[in-house]
């Protein structure tokens, strides 16, 4: 059962990702991106990361994709079907990324040194533990992340607002 679910969603998210990068239509790409994110969220659930799956859905699938679509709308010119073409050197890009994939794949498969659990743990890892961890052990990055988001907020405003509207 889990295997089937895994494969369905794994293939789904990979295929969707593939469509993101191959689609000629930027809007389609954005939608496929949301799809891919959702598929990944399911994989999270498969790996007992329920909370993160929720986060993934909320932030990525919803917020990010939405923002992307907004941006697309704001910047779209000309024919939407040709809005997302490949550049001249796409083949070289394919080669390099393919090469990297081969490398990573080989490493992943040949490596016997992952510290695999004898039996997967099932307890712990609740959102409660998680939040505790964030506020104690990972307090500093957590606070920094807050600042980071502020920065992003301010920055986005500054950049997007630009100069002209201020007058």
């Amino acid at each position: 059962m889990g295997t089937i679910v895994f494969f369905i969603f794994a293939i789904l998210s990979i295929a969707a990702a593939w469509m993101v990068v191959t689609s000629k239509n930027i809007v389609h790409s954005a939608l496929y991106l949301a799809l891919s994110f959702s598929g990944v969220a399911v994989l999270y659930i498969l790996m007992n990361a329920d909370f993160l799956a929720a986060v993934q859905l909320l932030i990525y699938t919803a917020a990010v994709s939405l923002m992307v679509i907004f941006a697309v709308m704001l910047t779209l010119r000309g024919d939407i079907c040709e809005s997302n073409t490949e550049n001249k050197s796409w083949f070289a890009g394919a080669l390099v990324s393919g090469l990297l994939f081969v490398v990573i794949g080989l490493v992943v498969f040949t490596n016997a040194d992952w510290r695999v659990l004898a039996a997967p743990w099932t307890s712990g890892g609740s959102a409660e533990d998680f939040s505790l961890l964030l506020l104690t052990r990972y307090m500093i990055p957590f606070e920094a992340a807050a600042v980071l988001l502020t920065v992003a907020l301010v920055g986005a405003v500054i950049l997007a607002k630009g100069v002209n509207e201020s007058k």
Partner: protein, 648 residues
Amino acid sequence: MFKEMHDLFQWAWLIPFLPFLSFLIIAFVTKRSKRLSSTISILAILSSLSLAVAIGLGVIQSGEKIVEHPAIVNVNWLNIVGLQIDFGTIVDPLSAMMLFVVTLVASMVQIYSLGYMHGDEGFSRYYAYQSLFASSMLGMVLATNLLQLFIFWELVGLCSYLLIGFWFFKVSAREAAKKAFITTRVGDFGLLLGMLFLYVKFGTLDFVALSAAMNTNIQDVAVIGTAGYVTVMAFLVFMGPVGKSGQFPLHVWLPDAMEGPTPVSALIHAATMVVAGVYLVARMFFLFDHADPMALQFIAGLGAFTAIFAASIAIAQDDIKRILAYSTLSQLGYMMFALGVGSLTASMFHLMTHAFFKALMFLGAGSVIYAMHHKQDIWEMGGLWKKMPITGTTFFIGVLAISGVPPFAGFWSKDEILAHALHNGHPIIYGVGLFTAFLTAFYMSRLFFVVFMGPEKKENHPHESPWSMTIPLMILAFFSVFGGFVALPEHNFAFFIHYGTFHHEPIAWGLAGISVVAGLLGIGLAYATYIKKAISAEKVAAQYSGIYKLLKNKYYVDELYLWLIHHIMDGLAKILYWFDIYIVDGVVNGLALITRGSGRVLRRTNTGQLQTYAMVFFFAVVIIFMVFAFGEGQLSALNPLATLGGVK
């Protein structure tokens, strides 16, 4: 008596010092005042002359003691590890004689110059140079060691350079000065080397010490190496005199040196400086004596060759001063071969007499030139005897002296040289010498007849020179007439100046007769040709035009040298310069170009395309990983690179 004499000799340093002082005073103080400058200079040289005379008399009085033990005063000059040099004065008969000759001629020339150089723009400068020259020359004479001698040797060279180029606005003078310096430099190169080798082997350059060291160590191979070493040093040292005394093949500068003022030619290029080489060989005679006999033979041969070579050129020259210059060369050859045949005495004797009569003739020539308003071609002159009786007479005395007509000075010295040549077993040299004597008489008489006899030229308006010029002529004429008598046994020149053990030799009157005949023949031939016109000089010249041209053009030696300098030396210089700019510097610029060029090429990697950047980035990641994963062995092989140079 000796003690007092020694006290006198201690003051010998004043002889060069006084003119030097005068040089300094003129150069820094009285330059602007011509009269003051010349007065100071002449006073200085006259004082030196009187001191020299005093010392000369002292030497004669000291007699045997001074011959055996020269009076030497030394002060330390340089004292470092591996090089100890003293400066000092040596008073012995040889130097005393030279002091007298030099100061006398210098005084005469300086007095003479009062008239000759009158009105010249550089009058003070002239006297400054004269003083410096006198000082250097006298310093050289008094030198106690080879380095000191060399230093003054070079300084007289400098003065020669300055005085030849005295009229520096004349291109010919400027070139002649340069030529003189460079040519003598070639000889100095050898002298310097010889000096270094001497010091290396004997640890001293002091004449006395060197001589002693040679006498004791000459057989000791361990100390000085093989006997050939001394010979090599002898040859090297001899190179100096070859340059300085104008021996073939470095004689070329001397005729050109006539571009200087005539009194200068008289002093430097006839009487004193050019004989420095002879003097040096005489001083260093022990070296040549210890060397392989080949060395002395070589000197004799070269001297004889120069004598006849220069004499033959003199026949075909037209310039009054050039004739005298070649004559000087020829006489220097005489002195040199006299040394070569082993007669230090004869050589020095001839040096002295020659100084008198050659200075006389040069000054006479100067007087003529002065009268002729700086014309120098003998064919433009003629019949000057009547207009210039003093000059003519004194000049004639000079001619007779150089031709070896008794009882004039040249007769004694020349005869002694020839006698020694034959006596010491050099018949060929003797023959050459004799023939040269004939040639000398011929061309000197030719000069005299053409200039002073014969018809007057209308365009000339000669007149006798002022007293300042004629008095020195007369004094020198006096010495030219009577200077030879010192060789008479009762004056014992040979006792004072000799090498090795002294044994008195009577004058060989038979041989003397032969040389007198040769001289008279020469005069007679000239008389027949130029006065009686019995032989047409033009016809002879036409008949042997090849030889005439060869002689007239001085055997094309100058041309050869010019060709060598312009084509070989300058050519090489240009090639090397090319090499320097385009190869040596080219490599440097090339490297710079490669550096800049690679910068220019490499900057194209920054295409501005961010996707290219990203691709490069990830490709590099993959490559680095690959290198790590698969190339570990190879990479480690690169490790020696890390310790390149092996400093650590």
